[in-house]
Amino acid sequence: MARNKSRATTEVNAGSMADIAFLLLIFFLVTTTIASDKGILNILPPKLDPNVPPPDIKKNERNIFNILINANDDLLVEGEYRRTAEGLDEDIKDFVLNFGAPDEEAQALFNSLPASLQAKALRRPESSDHPGEAVVSIKTNRGTSYELYLEVFDLAKKAYFEIYGERVGLTADEYRALTGDDEASKLLLDRGKEGFPLAISIAEPDKIGGN
């Protein structure tokens, strides 16, 4: 009798066990974040030789797009006060594509651009001469937050990548995804960049408002 009873209870319904295991597995699959190596690439300038004075670069003021960010995270863009960095990418695009006073080479470059980019050339005398001369300068204080600096740097890169992408008929995202591994994508990369050096200069921060 006792034997019979114990036999009846040995069978536990285990059909749903696998489902539970599955659920757990999916839960962990979804929640784990695998560290990714994505980011914004920046090439720092080479180290200055203390014995050699820094080169005196003569560049016209109109060829430099000045962005100053102070310790209160206020922006001064080309002498104009701004609260947020919004819309900065469009301004940088306009500045780079201004073609105020192109030389022969730059004129040839201008003629090779698609019409949508040519339409952006406003030819204002107070803005950049041509893309080869244009420099975007970002200057911060020591007290500026890294987050805002990265946002501004991101927008400057965005402006350039949109120009590159538009030249080869891609969106900025597609252009950035090009690896340069095979010939075709390498060609696209080079065609996009040609004549448009990615000139984003990061100035040494001021000693104000930080430690």
């Binding site: 536990v12 066990m17 990714s36 994505k38 980011g39 914004i40 720092l44 080479p46 937050s145």
Partner: protein
Amino acid sequence: MAKFKKKTNTSTSIPTSALPDIIFMLLFFFMVTTVLREQDLLVEQKIPQASQLQKLQKKTLISYLYIGKPKNTSLYGSEPRVQANDVLISPPEIVQWVNQERDLLPESDRGFITISMKVDKDVKMGPISDVQTELRNADARRVLYASTGKVMN
């Protein structure tokens, strides 16, 4: 012959009710043993967002620097610190660290070493520029500002 026949009569099915348990055991084993991050983070890390992300082709070329407020403020203070590998270092030690990291790479790749800077949102530009100055001194000029994707409107 008769002996063999008798044996075939016994039930041949293997009890499968324990299979889920085995799967469970495997799941737990992997849950416990997998380590996603090899290092303990000693500093706070809230990675900022950006839209123009690039992915690097060769992961072996990347070395990581973590910058942020120390988690253990009673031991390390509340000022942002730099973590390399498992220890907090001061900016002047970065040159030595870069050289160590560079020595680990094959000789042909040493010029392409990339420093991925994982910086907390709340850090100011002061410590960042100190680190960048040291990286320039160490001639490790490829820097990746680690950031997560942002949905642009």
